[in-house]
């Protein structure tokens, strides 16, 4: 594609809401330039139905995605993989052309 897009990886993480802080820390420490959070998602996986309700956030999911280079994607996905041994979650990695504002590309 002839866009000025930069080829990057989009790492999407579904994680239980109580672990959001930890996920953000992992993303930050891996050196990602940013992230976007979709605060309240629900779902089902091998741990059964997780539908966030108002009484507790123990059964609520959150989604985070970050646009990073391949190496960082790998670093993040490995750390999250460790985390989701004990907490509900999944990591999805895909290709993305990212268009940044000018100053961003200069960096």
């Amino acid at each position: 594609m002839k866009s000025d897009g930069k080829k990057m990886k989009k790492v999407e993480i579904v994680i239980e809401a109580v672990m959001l802080k930890e996920v953000v820390t992992i993303v930050d420490e891996a050196g990602a330039g940013g992230y976007t959070i979709l605060p309240a998602v629900t779902g089902r996986g091998h741990r059964g139905h997780r539908s966030g309700f108002g009484l507790t956030n123990v059964f609520q999911n959150t989604m985070v995605f970050t646009l990073v280079n391949e190496e960082t994607a790998l670093k993040i996905s490995q750390k999250i993989k460790h985390l989701i041994q004990n907490y509900a979650g999944v990591v999805i990695i895909s290709d993305a052309d990212v268009v940044w504002p000018d100053y961003q590309k200069d960096q």
Partner: protein, 334 residues
Amino acid sequence: MDGNILTNLLDPPILFFFFGIFARLIKSDLEIPPALTKFFSLYMLMAIGIKGGSSLAASGISREAVIILVSAMVMATLVPIYSFLILRIRLKNLYDAAAIAATYGSVSAITFIAASSFINKVGVTPGGYMAVALVVMESPAIVMAVLMAGMVRSKQALTSSAQSPNSPASLPMKKILHEAFTDGTHLMLIGSLLIGAITGLEGKKTMEPFTSGIFKGMLAFFLLEMGLSVASRIREMKDVGGFLVGFGLVMPVINASIALGIAHFLGFAMGDAYMFMILVASASYIAVPAVVRHAIPEANPSLYFTMALAVTFPFNIIFGIPLYYKMLQLVWGG
């Protein structure tokens, strides 16, 4: 009015609880937006806090109150220990045992509210410091459970020859204490208590149309949501299993009995004794699960949350509240 089972049940908010259960069981799409449930629960805590705090300001902290608060903290420490010992008889996953122990050592603010309303109707008035007891009983149970889970973890690390690479790093106790104390609902109650205590009767009066006037209506909505949630959890009941359901029904009565013994031995006033029984008999499904999910990730939240919410809470609301009163009357000879 005499404190029979209907005194408690024929109140609109309680009926909305049953209505919520019914609605979910027949698969209605009725639901309360989560943002509102959050509001109702913060509201309840504000209302209890301001009421308790202002009557505390009026009465001061008496020697009697100190004895009750110390007893409350002791029970919040002991209940998790003997609950854990009972649970480990049958549970293979000892982390589950620790997590369940934490919820039963801690307390339920809504059970507290329903019981306060019952005991007031019966004509007995507990002291304002009972709201403080509600506060101080939360953290000890969490601390005990985390300590027990830590012991289980080190034992397993020893026995398993090859250390699992995926074992969760156990959180430092300092971080857990921080989480327990700064948990939003917990803090809201403490903050409201303090604000009630600082502003006293005048503060209470200012807030009254909000914290008392519309209270029953807000409670009705909250209990409606609780009913819906309880029924949603009923399908998890088969995971919970007979032993744990039994635990969730019998343990409150045992806890209430022990609390009754202590209250009698230490000479609590009748209203205080009743609320003490209620606190010890109730289990936490809001603050404790939120902290324990973090602190004991190996435990399955479907077990401890479902037991506290869908077994023990309804049991206490329907049977516990009048039953503990009958027990109290027997001992007090009322």
